[in-house]
Point group: C2
Chain length 398, copies 2
Amino acid sequence: MAHINENFLSLKQSYLFSEVAKRVSAFSERHPEKKIIRMGIGDVTLPLVDCVIDSMHQAVEDMAKKETFHGYGPEQGYDFLRTAIQEYYQQEMGVSLNLDEIFISDGAKSDVGNITDLFSAENTVLIPDPVYPVYVDTNQMLGTKIVYLQADENNGFCPMPPEQGADLIYLCSPNNPTGAAYTRQQLKEWVDYANRYGAIILFDAAYEAFVSEQGLPRSIFEIEGAKTCAIEFCSLSKTAGFTGTRCGYTVVPKALTAKSEQEKEILLNQLWLRRQTTKFNGVSYIVQRGAAAVFTQQGKRQTRENISYYRENARMIGAALTEKGIPYFGGINSPYIWMKCPNGMDSWEFFDFLLENAAVVGTPGAGFGNNGEGFFRLTAFSDHESTAEAMERMKKIL
Amino acid sequence: MAHINENFLSLKQSYLFSEVAKRVSAFSERHPEKKIIRMGIGDVTLPLVDCVIDSMHQAVEDMAKKETFHGYGPEQGYDFLRTAIQEYYQQEMGVSLNLDEIFISDGAKSDVGNITDLFSAENTVLIPDPVYPVYVDTNQMLGTKIVYLQADENNGFCPMPPEQGADLIYLCSPNNPTGAAYTRQQLKEWVDYANRYGAIILFDAAYEAFVSEQGLPRSIFEIEGAKTCAIEFCSLSKTAGFTGTRCGYTVVPKALTAKSEQEKEILLNQLWLRRQTTKFNGVSYIVQRGAAAVFTQQGKRQTRENISYYRENARMIGAALTEKGIPYFGGINSPYIWMKCPNGMDSWEFFDFLLENAAVVGTPGAGFGNNGEGFFRLTAFSDHESTAEAMERMKKIL
């Protein structure tokens, strides 16, 4: 008699985006004449940049001819892409990586989810609240003990290490959903904490390309000591609009270890390699060719233009909120604006208020954790016209 | 102090293909003048068919324009592809599936590997020997109890149900590495067994497109009763040469349940949906467009031509072995020929003999399990010229 992984039964159903969709659709039926502006889901809207398109057309052609056809590639990704990422870390962040510390994947969500395969269910895991729900859900599937890090206005949504130790620590900076970004000094405290307790930091850098303030770290490996305590996940979804193209990468330093039951040091790089070669077969050749184009001079210039476009939206949203005296976080190093709901409204009250009176859709902060209550997430991924229109509508009713 | 998943320590290092590579490279250094013919790794060599190429070029263009750009897609895959697969099952195999029983993935290896997430480590798992090594490795990572099904010449490498019960059962038909295919009657016995014991059959149909004998099942769902006891994995890798393009699909019937600790029936379709929406973000839009083209009339015709090409290679290999009186399995419903090593040689002895005397590379059967000892796998994925040349060389020395 087959038995299930019992941990699945402790998962909460995720009603956030389905509930948002339900309310929007009901509003739309009642007011078919109103033009709804969607600033809820964190998905890009600009098309892929030219050099990525060219590179993928070329790769499709490669697949059409016997001489240039590509069958199975290395599970860890092609060297042409790993080398490009290695150079990116060196040039942009001053971080030296070995080629075999870089693993290409179909996106950060897969790797963030699958990384739990490597760890014991006996670990105690620190997870910020509020945060990207995948960290909590995947740890509940494994059955680890979760301790929440309280992120709130007092700590600027950048929680710092607790008194007691821990085994695994999830950090996301710049943060989804709050847009808050750790300083170098703050990350150094986390790295020191992790090294002191033998903990592993699982660092989600998916929004690194949005960091605009000088001196803020974009990789945990900019911090001294991180190579003995951190794994970094990154993605081209937000960097280059790859949400539907699917490519990411994960860095597992060769110096990084965790303990076996007999307290032997086990290399996590080897464990992840074994996991990926067993349960994964690499990313499409065509997609990897497109991804490599992102890291060329032309690709970096073109994707930076797109990010500047989204940044201008974030600036507009921030300016509107400032004008109305509404406190918010994020927006400077992130495509997300995390605003306080006005007049003491809770997250869903404000959602309804904004939808009914301005036909603008955002995401209720309460959907990201208990500490998200009373907050609201707006994204900068619309176009200028819709963003400007949404801000005009919001200013009228706030 | 972070602790690892202790089960990783029980994994055997997989030396098979690295050992093959090492010996080939040593031979090549000693005999730089010899032209080595590789019939070892099961990777396709023909380029993607025209209509797949056209469809992917079009999809790349879609990604270049704001109006047709695709961001995040559904984790389960686009309806245009799921509908195509639904029709394929109906038309080719007479199997009716609901759209939400079909999940698109980046390949069968990922899904076969990740499916263990759904199950308790307390399950007892039946795995044929010899077989595709991923089943064993992923179950060792989870820590289930593995019982081997003895596949050998006596049962034509198609082991049948044992006396005692089990919880999970891996079947691969047509089989990798032996090329053996279950009959309808044999699969019916497995389905009845699984339904009797409440076991789940994990059915790997990656080679279904190579079935050429009339009446042989290509899907487990052709068998009455399978929807209450089976999950099916399939892939376009061998069907349409997608080994480097990456697309597969998994069918989890809505009627399929496994038990919770409290013996409640839990829907596995819902569990897999939760797993995929949490740890996966869908397959590249471009790849899904290419995959959908495989299922058009034109796509089916073009991919069938490629399969016929490989089949002719299999026929040549079989004819050469028959001429030399060497027993073999497979080759008729499979791109693999599973030959008995001549003159009582063991798998690696024959590997060396063939390499040294004919400069032909195959895969030692012992690498797929204990019962593979004394056997040798040749693949039909080379071109006609190399296959013919390899057979001429083999015939001279056998």
